[in-house]
């Protein structure tokens, strides 16, 4: 953009005299979740008008059930992307946690609560490994997590030999996340509620605690954060560990959802979670975004899947639509970021 255009940004852009485009840009900049919300509402309206079944409780329940796991992984992914990082090992870490707790409870007689806790700890350990390499040795997150993606996957295969652990072989609590919970006329389950609580907790921590402010500061301008007295590496490390804990919880939700623990449980988790984050308005450059956008982003992707199926189109169209959306979302982010002088 030209220099004159940039120079008109700033406080003046928010004033009454500003053009509608500038004002829209400003609103989106202040509230990154607005565009995914509009998009979700649009997709619901369009799909419902094409096929009224889409607005039925059955379809909505299915939408929520299918979104839960990716939405949960997306919380961790969001935190990491806000710090300017990325996590390609998200799916691999979740599966490692998932298979470890499944094996412990099915073959080694470990009680379910302990096995679930160990799963969460394994998630945290995966996060610790990523976080330590990123924050202490200053390796790029993309490379670190590309490496740990392979490492975690390999460890999982060594542990399991590639075989699935059926839900019937595990104590009941291992699959309890799949327990049905009828609520508001919808067919929800325990996993969905756990994920909702996860969102509330992380949304609160990001928006209303010093830790959250520091996570944004570190992603936005790490050197400024350092000079302000913040330990950038400690904040980064904490984010990767928290993300790992979330993956461990998501692993339990996954077992409940699938009714089994499979090494191929969430093959598309990496791209799906990054897609949800990006469509949700969180900037891949760090410092801007939030978890509300991510759940909206995950819901958008899944609503396309269900909506296109109801309309009678094949899955290729969903894949195509998601691709277009991701590029559009990143383009929108670039445009929104120009508010900066």
């Amino acid at each position: 953009m030209s220099a004159t255009e940039t120079s008109t940004k700033g406080p003046a852009a928010t004033g009454r005299g500003a053009s509608p485009a500038l004002r829209a840009q400003h609103v989106l900049h202040e509230h990154p979740w607005v565009s995914p919300l509009v998009l979700l509402v649009l997709s619901i309206v369009v799909f419902t008008s094409l096929n009224p079944d889409f607005a039925q409780p059955r379809a909505i329940s299915l939408l929520l059930q299918q979104t839960a796991v990716i939405a949960a992984l997306g919380v961790g992914q969001t935190l990491i992307i806000i710090t300017g990082g990325i996590d390609l090992s998200v799916g691999a870490a979740a599966i490692l946690a998932c298979m470890s707790s499944a094996l412990l409870s099915s073959q080694h007689g470990v009680p379910a609560p302990a096995a679930i806790l160990i799963g969460v700890l394994i998630g945290a350990l995966c996060g610790l490994v990523n976080g330590a390499l990123v924050s202490r040795i200053n390796l790029p997150p993309f490379i670190v997590t590309l490496g740990t993606l392979s490492i975690f996957t390999a460890i999982t295969l060594m542990l399991t030999g590639g075989s699935t652990v059926q839900g019937s072989k595990m104590p009941g609590a291992m699959t309890a996340a799949g327990t049905r919970v009828p609520l508001f006329g919808l067919d929800l389950n325990v996993g969905i509620i756990v994920v909702a609580v996860l969102y509330l907790a992380v949304g609160y921590a990001l928006g209303f605690t010093a830790w959250g402010r520091r996570v944004f500061a570190v992603g936005d301008a790490p050197e400024a954060a350092r000079l302000a007295g913040i330990s950038v590496s400690r904040v980064r490390l904490s984010v990767y560990i928290v993300a790992g804990v979330i993956y461990g919880i998501a692993a339990w939700v996954l077992i409940g959802r699938a009714g089994a623990a499979s090494p191929n449980g969430v093959v598309d988790a990496n791209l799906a979670s990054i897609t949800a984050v990006v469509i949700g308005g969180t900037s891949l450059f760090g410092g801007r975004g939030g978890v509300i956008g991510t759940v909206l982003g995950a819901l958008i992707v899944q609503s396309f899947a269900i909506g296109l199926t109801l309309v009678g189109l094949d899955d290729e169209y969903r894949v195509l639509a998601v691709g277009v959306l991701v590029i559009a979302a990143v383009a929108a982010d670039q445009w929104i970021r120009k508010v900066r002088s």
Binding site: F208, T209, A210, R213, R214, A217, D220
Partner: protein
């Protein structure tokens, strides 16, 4: 009191800092005494910013010693210097553009709500931080900033600088260090910053001021440290030397 009997607040000896093959500082001594404004002048690249970064924990010097009130200290991180009451406005301003004014002011020293909301739930006291930020800005006399919830990226360069100065003035309790704090400011705002510096000095707080504005320096500084090619070319006062003489030493046309 004479200079020889006064004890410096901060005293640096033989500070050295190299960047690869570039020698940033080549053994610099510096003293700041209670209640004085010490100006640092020098050409671009003379090592002024590097020097104050070494004094405030932003850089760790390769050699040399630091004493605070006569006690040896070493600052490994900016937080170490903040912990003892040294506040700095860095040349880069060190602000997070995406965060608002109040959040930036209180970054690293956030205020939490009283009671269990703060201690257990870690809930930030946004209202208190915004009020205190506004108070700090108004204390400086800046009138163009109305909303402490405004994002820093929407502020003008001068407004950002004013916020950074207000932050340092509000939290400094031992020493305030300002690296070109008026570079982006208008005439009125520069005057306000100079007034703020005088107010800090009147409170007994020493100030280190880096500036390229010689009239400002000669107006306000009690002593002037001249930095040249990574070394200290001498320390003068506004009465011992006039501006022309000072600039001559600074550029190497004269020596002390």
């Amino acid at each position: 009191m004479t200079e020889s009997t006064r004890r410096p607040v901060l005293s640096a000896r033989g500070i050295r800092k190299t960047f690869g093959r570039v020698v940033g500082l080549d053994g610099v001594d510096l003293d700041v005494f209670p209640g004085e404004v010490l100006a640092i002048i020098g050409d671009n690249g003379a090592g002024k910013s590097t020097l104050i970064q070494c004094l405030t924990g932003a850089l760790v010097p390769d050699g040399g010693t630091l004493e605070l009130d006569g006690t040896p200290v070493s600052f490994r991180r900016p937080q170490d210097a903040k912990d003892v009451g040294i506040e700095t406005v860095y040349q880069s301003l060190a602000m997070s553009p995406a965060l608002d004014i109040a959040t930036n002011m209180f970054l690293g020293r956030e205020i939490r709500r009283p009671g269990p909301l703060g201690s257990v739930f870690r809930l930030l006291d946004t209202k208190a931080m915004r009020e205190k930020s506004m108070a700090a800005v108004q204390q400086l006399g800046i009138r163009t900033i109305q909303n402490p919830g405004q994002r820093v990226e929407t502020l003008s360069g001068g407004q950002r600088q004013a916020i950074a100065v207000a932050r340092a003035a509000a939290f400094g309790s031992k020493l305030v260090v300002l690296d070109e704090p008026t570079a982006a400011l208008g005439v009125r705002e520069s005057g306000l910053v100079l007034d703020a510096i005088k107010a800090l000095r009147d409170r007994g707080l020493p100030v280190i001021l880096i500036s390229h504005n010689m009239p400002h320096v000669w107006e306000i500084a009690d002593r002037i440290h001249i930095q040249r090619l990574g070394r200290c070319a001498g320390v003068i006062t506004s009465s011992s030397h006039d501006m022309t003489q000072g600039v001559a030493i600074m550029t190497g046309a004269a020596t002390l």
